[in-house]
């Protein structure tokens, strides 16, 4: 078990998400930055389907009630074990009653706490990913006890760590494909789309990132049709919304771009005020 002493700003359980339920209106969900969540699971030799905690900007504190091995990947929020700094992207052996906490945010927005064998919360529609009205828990709360695998861990703490390319957190280019309605834009609109340095607004969550700068919008809305994580919608006000992992399955705004999987991961590590630029793949 992991006991949640402090829940932090926004902590959820995530895995690879729910696939196969779009026709019921069920969003995919899953780790926002699947590059980092996969890395944490890989370092522990876990299956990539193992559920882990997605922690937004730290602020949380956990107590482990049993022995296990963990790995933290993604953003660097100065993780500490019993007040001693620990490495990211490295196997950390945990003893009963060890306390994990976080401190200063050094880079990134989301980090992933993986445990050997994965978090064993209930699966709903094939996934443990937190989602309102689907899983019992949406946000992790202080006092929650999260079941973890009882696998006897044979892993030792390692002194080695996996190096992560800093570009994953720093590069502002967001690679994308043309969206289904891209060609309804005129030359000037396309130019604005690729030449503007967009900044991320305050309106951001796991469903989508709204951007501040506008693209003149004279194109009609569409008959409600599929949207996917990574779809960039052009709203009537001219503002763009990049849909993220918890997005609805359908929408009616023109879909002008489709962000690549890799760039959704990178965008997930950006927040309000950060700059991005769309680059056609």
């Amino acid at each position: 078990m992991i006991k949640v002493l402090k829940s932090g700003f926004y902590t959820t359980i995530q895995d690879k998400g729910r696939v196969g339920f779009a026709s019921l209106g069920v969003p995919v969900s899953g780790a926002m930055d699947s590059y980092s969540s996969d890395l944490a699971n890989r370092i522990l030799n876990n299956s990539l389907n193992c559920a882990l905690l997605e922690i937004t900007l730290g602020g949380c504190k956990f107590q482990f009630l049993s022995k296990t091995t963990i790995c933290i990947s993604g953003g660097d929020f100065s993780p500490k074990m019993n007040n001693q700094p620990i490495l990211l992207n490295s196997k950390i052996l945990i003893q009963e009653n060890d306390i994990l906490s976080f401190g200063k945010v050094n880079f990134g927005v989301r980090c992933y706490l993986a445990v050997k064998g994965g978090i064993q919360s209930d699966k709903k529609l094939g996934s443990r990913s937190s989602f309102k009205n689907i899983t019992n828990n949406f946000l992790i709360k202080s006092g929650d006890c999260l079941p973890i695998s009882n696998l006897k861990t044979t892993l030792e703490s390692s002194k080695t760590l996996v190096k992560v390319n800093k570009n994953h957190f720093e590069y502002k280019g967001i690679e994308c494909f043309k969206g289904p309605e891209f060609d309804t834009l005129d030359m000037h609109q396309k130019k604005t789309l690729f030449e503007t340095e967009f900044s991320i607004s305050k309106d951001i969550n796991r469903m989508g990132y709204k951007l501040n700068e506008t693209v003149e919008n004279n194109i009609p809305s569409i008959l409600t049709s599929a949207v996917l994580p990574g779809t960039v919608q052009l709203t009537p006000s001219g503002k763009l919304i990049v849909l993220m992992r918890d997005c609805q399955v359908t929408g009616g705004y023109p879909r002008v771009l489709q962000v690549s999987e890799e760039s959704i991961n990178r965008l997930s590590q950006k927040t309000t005020g950060d700059k991005i630029q769309f680059v056609l793949k």
Partner: protein, 240 residues
């Protein structure tokens, strides 16, 4: 007639003419059934819109044209597969003012008696085009134009589960508690999204819905049965 477009690295969007029509829905559903009958491990999921079918692939599509040719071949299959059986579902709705919190405002603006709104809303048969917006939210076609009514300028932060609303030219049922801007005219005790049953949403694209007016007393009785999972929805097979 339909066209194919790439939709990111892992999906293909198939689009029909931009109209809301039952004939389009029929074509989409037949195509979807044929694709499903392939039991292909390459197709992961699908999503239906008014005039579109999006096929989501398991892996990155390496050759778009080749995949389109495969889909075209599937479309032209002279298939003998039985299409999914569609049903007409009867959904009890209590239109009491306690639940239909926007009925009086609509009545004034539309210059229609509330009884006339209720009668008009509950005598139409609605077609389920697809499910989107929220888990179990049905996009229904067939609202009588007398009842077209703009969405509220300021959406409510919480609309109760089961609320029946009108938004512009559409009507629908909130499957879960949600923020929402539709005008609420009643409430059903029926759950459109329930993870405790094997099929979380009983209705699917191509089904039909008819609302039937019930009293507050009947609402409470049905609500009680629904909670005990012992309410049997009334449905009839659609033959077209």
């Amino acid at each position: 007639m339909h066209t194919y477009k790439p939709f990111g690295a892992k999906a293909i969007l198939i689009e029909w003419k931009a109209i809301i029509a039952k004939a389009t829905l029929k074509d989409i559903l037949e195509f979807k059934d044929k694709i499903n009958s392939q039991k292909s491990e390459f197709y992961l999921d699908y999503s239906i819109g008014y005039n579109s079918l999006t096929i989501i692939f398991k892996d990155i599509i390496l050759d778009f044209n080749e995949e389109v040719e495969k889909l075209k071949a599937i479309y032209t299959l002279n298939s003998t597969i039985k299409p999914a059986q569609n049903f007409l579902w009867e959904i009890p709705v209590c239109y009491d003012l306690e639940f239909g919190i926007d009925l009086e405002e609509m009545s004034e603006s539309l210059n229609l008696e509330t009884s006339e709104i209720i009668k008009t809303h509950s005598e139409s048969i609605y077609t389920v085009f697809f499910i989107g917006f929220l888990p179990g939210f049905l996009y229904l076609g067939g609202l009588n134009s007398k009842l077209f009514f703009d969405r509220k300028p300021n959406p409510r932060l919480n609309v109760e589960v089961g609320s029946v609303g009108i938004g512009g030219e559409q009507t629908g049922v909130y499957p879960v508690n949600s923020a929402g801007g539709w005008n609420i005219i009643g409430r059903t005790p029926i759950r459109f999204f329930d993870l405790e049953v094997s099929n979380p949403c009983f209705a699917k694209s191509g089904d039909q819905i008819k609302f039937s007016a019930i009293s507050k007393k009947e609402f409470l009785e049905i609500e009680n049965l629904v909670a005990k999972k012992s309410y049997q929805l009334f449905k009839t097979v659609i033959n077209d």
